[in-house]
């Protein structure tokens, strides 16, 4: 009911604001970032409460290892569920296909107990468990 009233009330407004484009502009961030002492290795565990820690920072070229310590399935994938496009622009059906020869995707491409990925692109990369998409985390990659 409340939702219905919200959207109804929007129709009464003289003009709805234009949708704001969602961007992941890392170029400005790259230009402003200075070399850091972030680690080259980090481990994220996955269990009943999701990912821990939910946000980690690694240096560009660093590797993050995800370890499933729970009973649920784990399939790491870059946001957005279910297409996993946000890291490199290719979707799951493209970069998980046999014969794909592009850059390594930030996508486990199947359920498994451990997964390691080396981040060569700076930025803030959100990810989720493809088998339980409500569980999310973020990898921040700095120069």
């Amino acid at each position: 009911m409340g939702l219905g009233w919200y959207f109804y009330s929007q129709t009464l407004s003289p003009a709805n604001p234009a949708p704001t484009a969602v961007t992941n502009d890392n170029s400005a961030q790259n230009a402003a970032a200075a070399p850091s002492a972030a680690p080259m290795q980090s481990t994220v565990t996955y269990g009943p409460n999701g990912f821990s820690p939910s946000s980690v920072t690694v240096k560009q070229g660093g590797t993050v290892t995800f370890v499933n310590q729970g009973s649920g399935k784990m399939w790491i994938g870059a946001d957005q569920h279910p297409t996993h496009e946000n890291y490199d622009g290719t979707n799951k059906n493209q970069h998980c296909a046999s014969g794909y020869n592009g850059p390594a995707p930030f996508d486990q491409c199947s359920a498994g107990s451990t997964y390691s990925f080396t981040f060569n692109k700076t930025g803030s990369w959100d990810y989720h468990n493809h088998a339980n998409a409500g569980d999310e985390g973020t990898i921040v990659v700095v120069p």
């Binding site: 969602v22 957005q80 279910p82 359920a111 468990n129 493809h130 998409a133 409500g134």
Partner: protein, 121 residues
């Protein structure tokens, strides 16, 4: 002569039905995509596969019932509630799921238009 009102109603029912038929069919080939939408509290009660395909059967029943056009108040209302639940339990994926609000509105419209006559007035 085509009855435009009936044709329009059929298209609305076909649209809602398609949105309930595609997921269980695609889930046969790409189950994790759909398992991922179940909220955390539904995982672990039964196997994810059983949960997915049982829900899929429910979706097929709702889809075919709505498509039939016979007494579709309850399946349309169920479709509305399921779609809204999917959206609100997966708000992190709203960029993908926002269209479900539209389909839910169509389903609710079908429910209203098929509200049992004896309850009206």
């Amino acid at each position: 002569m085509i009855d435009l009102k009936n044709a329009a109603n059929f298209l609305l029912r076909a649209g809602v039905s398609f949105s309930f038929l595609y997921p269980p069919i695609n889930a046969l080939f790409d189950p994790y995509t759909w398992i991922g939408y179940f909220p955390k509290f539904m995982h672990g009660i039964v196997s994810d596969t059983l949960l997915l395909h049982t829900f899929g059967i429910v979706e097929v029943i709702i889809a075919l019932w709505i498509l039939s056009g016979k007494n579709i108040f309850w399946p349309s209302l169920a479709a509305t509630l399921i779609l809204l639940a999917i959206v609100f339990l997966n708000l992190q994926d709203f960029q993908i799921l926002f269209r479900d609000i539209t389909i839910a509105a169509i389903a609710f419209s079908l429910a209203l238009s098929s509200y049992p006559a004896k309850n009206q007035n």
